[in-house]
């Protein structure tokens, strides 16, 4: 097991190096001078200020030197400070991460609540009308972009029914859990739609395979109820790949809520990233991107390791 962990960690570090290098390269390749973006009209006014900012940002250094310096700071947790807002990037992330994480968590839970019954039903009624209907519905959910779902949800639940707020975020610390959930439920639902579709397809296909196993036949021959067989004997072994995909998608959602956060004006990481891009706040862009990428890679690695713990065959392989 120790060998497995060591191997995974080496891969993790290599991946993170590649991710940081790509992130840094891409922001460095953006057209235009970041100092123009920072100072605007002042960039033509005071050469000394321009020179100082260029020095602070290391823009006059060769690319690789800049990368190594930046990486050194990043490794020690110093992601820099926004030139636009003066805020530390790490504190920007720490303030917004709980919001995005809550959205992602709620989306996963809501997706599972729908996906498991749909997947189980589809597998149990494979080829029948119930399966066709749910499959069609899942296909639609998979095809519709989540921002379209979001717009529809706002129109229905905010504008038409007036049940839920259309935008912004009530914090648990200020407004309590109920008020918080009122602002979280629509964006989380919009995010959940695609997840639900992915999860239910996975559950269905895994269940179909499991239901053909001999031990399921044995359970049937013992006269166990269908419900018992499905939930106790079939669902659990079918959940292994679901657990994996949940972990991976949770990591992806941490960086994948950009559009929904912007649509609903949710002060999460994605919303801040979009603002930073619009303001050309390169230090913030780099910091958030690296954080998202790191979170994704780390979560994937943890899921990989858990998978190995759960399934001895993988460990041995």
């Amino acid at each position: 097991m120790g060998k497995v962990i060591a191997g995974r960690l080496v891969r993790l570090i290599a991946t993170l190096l590649a991710v940081t290098f790509l992130t840094f390269s891409m922001t460095a390749l953006l057209p235009g001078d970041p100092v123009n973006a920072i100072l605007g009209v002042d960039s033509v006014r005071d050469p000394e200020v321009v020179a100082k900012i260029r020095a602070d940002l290391g823009l006059d250094d060769p690319f690789l030197i800049r990368y190594v310096n930046w990486l050194g700071n990043t490794v020690t947790g110093d992601l820099g400070q926004s030139y636009i807002t003066d805020q530390e990037v790490i504190s920007t992330i720490s303030q917004r991460l709980p919001v995005t994480a809550q959205l992602a968590f709620m989306a996963i839970i809501m997706a599972l609540i729908l996906a498991i019954p749909i997947g189980v039903l589809g597998a149990y009624k494979q080829g029948k009308w119930q399966d066709s209907t749910t499959s069609a519905g899942v296909q639609v959910a998979l095809s519709v972009p989540n921002f379209i779902v979001g717009i529809f949800l706002i129109w229905l639940f905010s504008v038409q029914l007036g049940w839920l707020p259309a935008s912004n975020w009530n914090r648990i610390s200020n407004d309590g859990l109920i008020e918080n959930l009122k602002t979280a439920i629509l964006p989380a639902s919009a995010l959940a739609m695609t997840q639900m579709a992915i999860f239910s397809r996975l559950v269905r296909s895994d269940m179909i395979a499991t239901l053909q196993e001999n031990y399921i036949l044995a359970a049937r021959s013992k006269g166990l109820s269908n419900r018992f067989i499905l939930l106790r004997h079939a669902l659990r072994p079918s959940s292994l790949s679901l657990m994996t995909i949940i972990g991976i998608n949770f990591g992806a959602l941490l960086g994948g809520t950009v559009i929904i956060e912007t649509l609903f004006a949710i002060p999460g990481i994605g919303f801040r990233l979009i603002n930073a891009i619009n303001q050309r706040d390169i230090i913030v862009i780099q910091g958030i991107t690296v954080f998202i990428a790191t979170a994704y890679v780390v979560i994937n690695t943890v899921v990989d390791l858990l998978y190995a713990v759960i399934d001895p065959r993988i460990r041995r392989a």
């Binding site: 235009g32 605007g40 807002t85 303030q95 504008v159 259309a166 935008s167 912004n168 004006a265 619009n278």
Partner: protein, 613 residues
């Protein structure tokens, strides 16, 4: 004339070299800060009292705009109490007037916590606000301001002339303040009495009151608090304004509560503000912001998009939404520029032809502004006192066949400037920021140009900051490599704010050639230079006589119509929408009791807003 130029050399240098602020703001983004200005002198007189005849014709093309909410006294009985939330199009970068570039959303917040020294009244005059009076010497180099007495900052510190003097070094060191100070040629601010402040300018400027009416210099903040913790000040600003900061949750909600010791009253002597609290929420998506208003998630919202005004009107008129729209047709006009130092745009025939071939009516339709935005012919909208009918008539309007004829003449000219063979189509790179409506409008223009058979169009989109950087052209002596470049022109500030730097020599070579070495303005984005236009722009800052200034700016606009360095795609209509029981936005007052300017650029003044019972 040469003599005149020489005599005014120092003047030109300072104006062109130093008065470089603001334009970018009003330029591409359209809604940024920058100091406004207008006729100054003793207590700022009124351009609107002067000519300002009723326009006999609509500006521009055949498309008609219909955006105007009257500024008038509120007839409902005002009521105290209640809270409202306002949806803004973006978060304020910061709330430090001297440091943070302030756009329309930011102004809504800053004006709640800070007072301006000077405000604009309903007629467009600059009038005292936190100041009690403002006078100048004859050549406008020394301005003496008297502050109101018995005003305290939110932290209990008394406002004195020394407060204003102590603000100055902070403003000088600030990113936003320093450029505004340079633009105004402001060299010193001294407390010359308990409440008397003396501003000294290196070059006289009749539009100086405008500087005192906008964010970097005009908003009054508590200098000791600002000096003690600049970063913290952004989260907890201290001013003298009608509301006091209560909480600031960046990118989510900023809440201000009533300043119980606010100095201002309404004309009946009632204490202000009326509301208990007001909160501002950034909601960048236009549709969501409108939905937030329609669903009651917010009580008011701003928009600078004509498409959103259209949708809000539809919601009100067709769906029966119980909302009020406070609409404003400002001077800010969309469109763009031709880089006249890049062939074929160095030939006025090309610029004129392309402008004739550009249908503002169709572009406005693509932008969703039919019936909302007026086509542009100049840097002033028809309801501006600076608007000129003569210019409106002179501007090259949509005439596709006429444009094709002019372009054909260029294309068949053996001496054509782009070096191509006779008969070959010209190449045009048309560039706008990647906003969906701007892309739609680009496509309209591209189709029109292409239909002529004489233009090869390449369309490019860069993010806004890059778009601005390309036009600045820092890499090649501020000439830039842009060709036809989307831009916004003008604002409701004094014309000098935007026009003077835009007319100064764009390159060192041009400055040298006209005997003004070193006088270079990177903010002349089209690179078009006319000695007469520049001279007129400078002369307009040396007088406070409205008729004289009007004539000078009209002459500049007429040159624009003749030389076409820029083109237009319609004035920028803006609006603040509110629930119908939220009143008072169009009926706030300046201390003299006159009505204020209203809500230009979707910037509300919230002290006299109340919730009707």
């Amino acid at each position: 004339m040469g003599e005149t130029v020489m005599r005014r050399k120092g003047l030109y240098r300072s104006v062109a070299f130093l008065a470089i602020a603001g334009l970018i703001a009003g330029a591409c983004g359209g809604d940024d800060d920058s100091a406004p200005a207008d006729t100054p002198s003793e207590e700022a007189e009124a351009p609107a009292d002067e000519p300002a005849e009723e326009p006999a014709v609509e500006a521009g093309d055949v498309a008609e705009g219909d955006v105007d909410t009257a500024i008038e006294e509120e007839e409902s009985t005002v009521a105290y109490g209640g809270s409202i939330s306002v949806g803004l199009e973006a978060e304020a970068t910061g709330l430090r007037p001297w440091e943070d570039t302030c756009s329309s959303p930011c102004y809504n917040m800053m004006i709640s916590v800070f007072d301006k020294l000077i405000e604009m009244d309903v007629n467009g005059n600059y009038v005292p606000y936190l100041a009690e009076s403002l006078t100048s010497n004859e050549d406008f180099t020394v301005w003496t301001m008297t502050l109101r007495g018995d005003v305290t900052f939110h932290n209990g510190v008394e406002l004195t002339a020394q407060s204003i003097a102590d603000m100055f070094p902070i403003q000088q060191a600030g990113a936003a303040g320093s450029s505004a100070i340079a633009a105004a040629n402001l060299v010193s601010v001294e407390a010359t009495g308990d409440l008397e402040v003396t501003y000294t300018l290196s070059e006289g400027g009749s539009a100086f009151p405008a500087t005192l009416s906008r964010a970097p210099v005009g908003f009054v903040f508590e200098p000791a608090a600002a000096a003690a913790d600049s970063e913290g000040f952004s989260m907890a600003p201290v001013g003298t304004g009608p509301f006091v900061i209560d909480s600031r949750d960046l990118d989510n909600e900023t809440t201000f509560v009533r300043n119980d010791s606010y100095w201002a009253t309404d004309p009946d002597g009632n204490a202000l503000p009326y509301l208990d609290s007001i909160s501002f929420r950034p909601i960048p998506d236009e549709g969501t912001r409108l939905d937030a208003l329609l669903s009651g998630t917010v009580n008011a919202m701003q928009t600078l998009r004509q498409g959103t005004i259209r949708d809000a009107r539809n919601a009100r008129d067709e769906d029966g939404a119980d909302i009020t729209l406070y609409e404003f047709q400002g001077n800010n006009v969309g469109g763009g520029m031709y880089n006249v130092l890049v062939p074929p745009f160095d030939d006025v025939r090309v610029r004129r032809a392309l402008t004739h071939m550009n249908s503002q009516e169709q572009v406005i339709e693509a932008l969703g502004g039919t019936g909302i935005s007026l086509p542009g012919t100049q840097w002033f909208s028809p309801d501006s006192p600076w608007w000129s009918e003569k210019v409106a008539e002179a501007w090259p309007k949509f005439d596709f066949e006429g444009g094709v004829a002019i372009l054909t003449e260029y294309v068949n000219d053996p001496e054509r400037s782009d070096g191509k063979a006779v008969g070959e189509s010209i190449d045009v790179e048309l560039s706008c920021p990647p906003d969906p409506t701007l892309i739609a409008s680009m496509q309209v223009v591209e189709q029109l140009y292409t239909a002529s058979g004489l233009v090869n169009v390449t369309m490019t989109n860069y993010d806004q900051q890059t778009h601005i950087g390309i036009a600045l052209g820092g890499e090649n002596g501020f000439v830039g490599n842009h060709q036809q470049h989307c831009w916004r022109w003008s604002s409701d500030d004094d014309p000098s704010v935007n026009l003077t730097p835009a007319l100064a020599p764009p390159t060192a070579e041009i400055a040298e050639a006209i005997g003004l070495p070193g006088v270079v303005s990177p903010l002349n984005f089209s690179n078009w230079f006319s000695p007469t236009a520049f001279q007129a722009a400078v002369a307009a800052t040396k007088t406070d006589d409205f008729a004289t200034r009007y004539g000078l700016y009209e002459s500049i606009m007429l040159e624009f119509a003749d030389q076409v360095p820029v083109y237009y795609s319609g004035h920028t209509a803006t609006a603040i929408g509110t629930e119908s029981n939220v009143l008072g936005l169009n009926s706030w007052h300046v201390p003299s009791g006159e009505l204020g300017i209203g809500f230009p650029n979707a910037e509300g003044r919230w002290a006299e807003v109340f919730i009707s019972s």
